[in-house]
Amino acid sequence: MQHCLPRYLSIIGFFWACSGGLTAAAQGNGPGVRGARAAGLSNASVALAGEVWSMGNNVAGIGEIKQPSVGFYGENRYFSSALNVGALTVALPLGRQPNTGTPTDGMAAPQVVAPAARTWARHGVVAFEAQRFGGVLYNETRVGAGYGYRFGQISLGARVDMLQVSIEGLGSRRVLLGTLGGQIEVLPNRLTFGASLYNLSQTRLASYQDERVPTVLKAGLAYRPGSQVLLVVETEKDVERAANFKAGLEYRPVPVLAARLGLASLTEQASAGIGLATGSFQLDYAAAFQQALGFSHHLSISKSWGGKQ
C-alpha cells in the first residue's frame, strides 16, 4: 500500500486546493471555520461577536461574552473521514459585571440598549481552544489561548496557538502562531466592522520550498437592518491565494430559531443552515455545497452558565 500513499495524499491536496476558500481552511493550516453559525454564513464571521466561536472567527469578539461558556464543533467535508474537524472551546469572563444583564449569547436577537448602558466583563474575557483536523495519514492539531477586551464601541483581542502538523511516515512539526483581531461598532446595534489577522509573524513550517503557515487577513461588516435580519459581508486574503469574498444572511423570525444562507466566491460554495437558541443552549447545523466536490456538514453546540448574577 506504500505506493498508494502519494496518490492518496495528492487527492487530499486536491481537496485543499479546491476548498481553500470557504475556510482558507483548517486544511493548509489556515484559520478555519468555528461554529455551524459561521459555516451557514459561508464563514463571513469576522464581524460577529459575543459567542464562544468568536475565539476562532475573530478573537476580539469574545470580549462581549458575559457568561462562562463552552462549545463543541464538528465538521465533515465531502463525506471523507480524512477531512473531519473537531473543536472544543471554553470562554471565561474575568471580573463581575456591575449590572444584571439578561443572558445573551451571540445568537439572540440584539436588544436595543443604549450602548452606554451596556457593560462588558470588567477585566475582559479569556478563552481556550483545542482543535483537530484530518485523519490518520495527515492531521493538524492546535491548542490556543485568547483574550478579548471591550471598551465602549471598540473590542480588541489576541490569541496564541500552538499548531502541530503530522504526516504519517514523515513525522510532525510544531509551531507557534499569533493572531490579532479588532471590532468597532460603527452604528450601535446596526453596523459593526471587524478585522482579523491570522499568523502575523508569517511562521515558517518547513524550509523545503519555504513552506509557511498561511497569513490570512480578514475584514468585514455585519449589518442589522432590523431586529430579525443580519447581513454579513467579508473579504479574506491569504498572501498566496486569490482574494475571497463572502456574504451571508441570517433571518430570525422568532428569537428561538434562525435560518441562514451564505456564499463564498473563491470556492463557489453556497451554504445554508439553521440554528436553535433555547435558554443557555445553542444548537446549530449548516450544510455547504460545492459544485465539484459535493456537500459538507457542520454542527455545533454550546452552553453558557450563570444566567442571573
Partner: protein
C-alpha cells in the same frame, strides 16, 4: 418630499387621452426606458424579446390595473410590488373597502414613495368595473378612446450588398434580396381592461416583397396577425380568437411576454405570473399561438382553460439519403428570424405544420393565498424534427410529437411566497423550478430559486427562469437580495450558480459557472436616479483553435475555456425641469476567454437630452461614443425609439452613434414621430457582413411613425 404626491401632478402626461375617470390624478407617462433598464440587468444578447416586454408595459399603461378589483396574481404581474406590499394592499381593501384615490396608497403599510412613483403609471382607482353599464360591446368598442392605428416606415439610407444587382459567380447569379429595402408596418388595436381587445398588424421587413399569393399563404405583407379577445362575459372569463399568448405557472410549459430573467430587479422578477390567455399584437413572427383559447370559471375557485393552435412555421426541410433512416423527410430545426428576403429564405417560409393543443386548470383558494394548477401541452409537427447529429444535440427533441404535462403551485404564508412548477415531457425528461421570496422586514427582501432541467426535457414554448435561452440541460441555484438601508438608497444583489450536465453549443464538455451582480441605486429626488451596477459572469465556452494551440502545453484535455465577463454600468437620470431631462449612461465590459488569455474590452458612453418645447413638440437626442475590441465585447445600449418600437443596436469597433427623435402632436387624434439615427465607424471600409454589407463607414437610418386615434 413634504408635498407628497402633489408634486407628481406636475408631470405632464404626453400619451394621455384625457378621459374623466373617477379619480383626480393625471397619470404620468411611464419612463419605460428607465423601467426596462431596471428590469434587465444588462443586455447581453438579442435573444430576449424586448419588444414583448415593452409591449406589455405599454399595455399596462394604456389599460391600467384597477387597484380595487385587481387580484393578487394581477398585482404580481406588475413586477414592481413585493409580496408584502400586495398583501397589505389586499388587507387594506378588505378592511376599509375600495380605495377612493391613488393618494390613499401612502397610508398603506410598506408603500414608500419610490414604489408609489414606480407603479403610478400602471394603476388606476375606479369604483367598479361593470362593463355592461357602458352599453353593448359594439358601442363600447366604438366609444373606446384607447384605440390607435399606427403606420410606420423605416429605411437604411445606404445601399447594402443585398440590394445591388446580382453578379455571376461560377455560372450562377449570386443571392440577392428580392424586395425593397423599406420596412413598413400597419397596426391597429383597441382594448379595454377586462373587457375586450381587437387588433391587427401587417408588416413587411426590409428586403421582403409585397406578394399576393394566397396559395403560399402570402397576402401582401409578409407578416399578418390579428386577434379578437373578449373578457369577463359571466362564466366565460376569456375568449381569444386569432393570435394569442399563454402564460401559466412558472412558464415552464407556456410562457409569454414577461419572461424577465436575471435583472437588476433581483426579487420580484424571479416569479412568473399566471397571466393566462393574452392577446398577441407584437411583431415577433413565431412566439405566439394561432387559433382559439377560452378560459371558463368552472367553480368559484376553479378556472379551466383550453386552447388549440395551428400554424405553419419556417423550417428547412430535407430528404433523407438513407433508406434505413429514422425519417424520410425531416427538418433540422425551426427558423426563428422571421425574415423572408432571399429565394432560400422564401423556400423555407411556412414549410412546417405545427398543431398545438392543451389546457390548464387552476384552483385558487378564496383568499388568493394558495394556487395549484395543472397544464398540458401537446405538439404535433407535420414533418419530423431531427437536429444535426452533433454531440451537443444528443438529447434534443426529435420526432413529430411532444406531450408535456406540468403541475404548478404558489403559496403565500405570512411574509413568504413559495412557488414552483414541475413538468415531464415525452421521453421522460423532467424539469422543475422552485422558488421562495421572503420579505424579511421593511428594509430587506430575499429570494431563493432552485431549478433543474434534464438534458432530455423538451419544452417547446416554455421560458422559465434559466441561464440558457431554453429550459434544457441546466441545474442552478439563485440567491437574490435587496436592501434599503436608508431612505433613497437601495442595494440589490444576486448570485446565481449553474451547471450544465451535458454539452452545449460551443461547450464540448459538461460545464459550470456563475453570474453575480451588485447594484447600488440612489434617488435623491423623485425625478433623478443614479445607479452603479457591477456584474460578473463565468460561463465556459470552447476556445478558438489558435488559443488551444497556445495553451495546449499545460492542458490535458481540450476543455472549454473559462470565459469570464465583467461589466460595469453607471447611469444617471435627472429632470432639470418639467421640460428638460438629461440622461448619462456609461457602460463597459471586459472579457477573457480563459484564465491566461488576454482581456478584451468594450466601452460605450451616451448622453441623452430630452426637451418638451411645448404641448405639441418634444425633441430627444443622444450622442454616444463606443469602442469595443470585437463582436464578443459588443455593447448593447438601449435607445429610445418611436412609440412601441424597441431599438437595441449592438455596437462594436470604434465610432459614434447619434440619434434624434421629434414627437409632434398634429392635433387631438394624430401624433407623428420622426427619427434619424446614424453610426459612424473609424478605421473601417465596410460595415456589416454578407448581404448586409455597406461600403463606407457611415450607416444611417430614418424612421417615421404616425398614430391616428379615432
Amino acid at each position: 418630499m413634504r408635498n407628497g404626491l402633489a408634486g407628481l401632478v406636475a408631470g405632464s402626461a404626453l400619451l394621455l387621452s384625457h378621459s374623466l375617470k373617477a379619480q383626480d390624478y393625471v397619470r404620468r407617462a411611464p419612463d419605460l426606458d428607465r423601467l426596462t433598464q431596471e428590469l434587465f440587468a444588462e443586455i447581453q444578447s438579442d435573444q430576449v424579446p424586448y419588444e414583448d416586454l415593452y409591449e406589455t408595459l405599454l399595455q399596462y399603461y394604456q389599460t391600467p390595473i384597477n387597484l380595487n378589483t385587481a387580484t393578487r396574481e394581477e398585482l404580481r404581474g406588475l413586477l414592481l410590488l413585493n409580496e408584502n406590499q400586495i398583501t397589505t394592499l389586499l388587507k387594506h381593501r378588505q378592511e376599509n373597502g375600495d380605495l377612493l384615490s391613488v393618494y390613499e396608497l401612502q397610508s398603506i403599510e410598506g408603500y414608500d414613495l419610490r414604489t408609489i412613483n414606480r407603479i403610478l403609471p400602471f394603476v388606476t382607482v375606479q369604483s367598479s368595473n361593470a362593463n355592461r353599464s357602458r352599453g353593448t360591446l359594439w358601442q363600447r368598442i366604438a366609444r373606446e378612446d384607447n384605440n390607435a392605428l399606427f403606420l410606420r416606415y423605416e429605411r437604411v439610407l445606404q445601399q447594402r450588398q443585398g440590394y445591388t444587382p446580382p453578379t455571376i459567380y461560377q455560372g450562377q447569379p449570386t443571392t440577392r434580396y428580392l424586395g425593397s429595402p423599406d420596412k413598413m408596418l400597419i397596426r391597429y388595436r383597441v382594448s379595454h381592461t377586462k373587457d375586450f381587445s381587437l387588433g391587427f398588424s401587417l408588416e413587411k421587413d426590409a428586403g421582403e416583397q409585397f406578394i399576393w399569393n394566397p396559395k403560399n399563404g402570402q397576402f401582401g405583407a409578409d407578416y399578418v396577425s390579428a386577434h379578437f379577445v373578449l373578457q369577463e362575459r359571466g362564466r366565460l372569463k376569456t375568449l381569444a380568437l386569432g393570435d394569442y399568448q399563454l402564460q401559466f405557472g412558472q412558464g415552464l410549459l407556456l410562457s409569454s411576454g414577461l419572461g424577465v430573467g436575471k435583472g437588476a430587479e433581483t426579487i420580484t422578477t424571479l416569479r412568473r405570473s399566471s397571466l393566462g390567455v393574452r392577446a398577441y399584437s407584437s411583431l415577433l413572427e413565431n412566439t405566439f399561438f394561432r387559433g382559439g383559447a377560452a378560459t371558463v370559471q368552472v367553480a368559484p375557485t376553479v378556472q379551466a382553460t383550453a386552447f388549440v393552435s395551428h400554424k405553419n412555421v419556417d423550417a428547412n426541410l430535407q430528404q433523407s439519403q438513407d433508406s434505413l433512416a429514422q425519417f424520410d423527410e425531416f427538418t433540422s430545426g425551426l427558423l426563428y428570424t422571421g425574415f423572408h428576403r432571399t429565394a432560400s429564405e422564401l423556400a423555407n417560409r411556412h414549410q412546417l405544420q405545427e398543431t398545438i393543443g392543451g389546457g390548464n386548470a387552476t384552483y385558487t383558494s378564496r383568499d388568493g393565498n394558495l394556487a395549484i394548477g395543472a397544464t398540458g401541452v401537446f405538439t404535433h409537427y407535420g414533418t419530423a424534427l431531427l437536429k444535426r447529429p452533433e454531440p451537443y444535440n444528443r438529447f434534443e427533441f426529435s420526432g413529430k410529437e411532444n406531450l408535456a404535462l406540468s403541475l404548478n403551485y404558489s403559496y403565500v404564508y405570512r411574509n413568504f411566497l413559495l412557488f414552483g412548477e414541475t413538468a415531464r415531457s415525452s421521453g421522460g425528461g423532467l424539469g422543475t423550478v422552485n422558488g421562495l421570496l421572503a420579505s424579511l422586514g421593511p428594509q430587506v427582501d430575499a429570494a431563493l430559486l432552485v431549478r433543474h432541467y434534464d438534458a432530455d426535457f423538451h419544452t417547446l414554448y416554455g421560458n422559465a427562469f434559466s441561464e440558457n435561452t431554453r429550459n434544457i440541460n441546466e441545474t442552478g441555484v439563485y440567491l437574490g437580495l435587496k436592501v434599503r438601508p436608508i431612505a433613497q438608497w437601495e442595494i440589490s444583489a444576486y448570485y446565481d450558480q449553474f451547471r450544465f450536465p451535458w454539452l452545449r453549443y460551443r461547450a464540448s464538455s459538461p460545464t459550470d459557472g456563475h453570474d453575480a451582480l451588485v447594484r447600488v441605486a440612489y434617488s435623491p429626488t423623485k425625478t433623478s436616479l443614479l445607479y452603479v451596477q457591477a456584474r460578473q459572469r463565468l460561463k465556459p465556452r470552447d476556445l478558438a483553435t489558435a488559443d488551444l494551440v497556445n495553451i495546449a502545453a499545460n492542458r490535458v484535455l481540450p476543455l472549454p475555456g473559462e470565459q469570464l465577463r465583467q461589466s460595469l454600468l453607471v447611469y444617471y437620470n435627472t429632470d432639470v425641469s418639467t421640460a428638460l431631462s438629461l440622461r448619462t449612461r456609461m457602460q463597459t465590459s471586459r472579457l477573457r476567454d480563459d484564465t491566461n488569455l488576454a482581456w478584451r474590452s468594450g466601452y460605450a458612453l451616451a448622453q441623452d437630452v430630452s426637451y418638451q418645447l411645448n404641448r405639441s413638440l418634444k425633441l430627444t437626442a443622444r450622442y454616444s461614443l463606443f469602442d469595443a475590441d470585437d463582436y464578443d465585447t459588443r455593447q448593447y445600449v438601449y435607445e429610445q425609439d418611436v412609440l412601441l418600437a424597441v431599438s437595441i443596436p449592438a455596437l462594436y469597433g470604434q465610432g459614434t452613434r447619434v440619434y434624434g427623435i421629434a414627437e409632434i402632436r398634429l392635433n387631438r387624434s394624430m401624433t407623428l414621430w420622426l427619427r434619424y439615427a446614424e453610426t459612424r465607424y473609424r478605421h473601417q471600409g465596410t460595415i456589416g457582413s454578407g448581404l448586409e454589407t455597406i461600403q463606407g463607414s457611415l450607416r444611417n437610418e430614418v424612421k417615421a411613425q404616425l398614430r391616428v386615434k379615432f
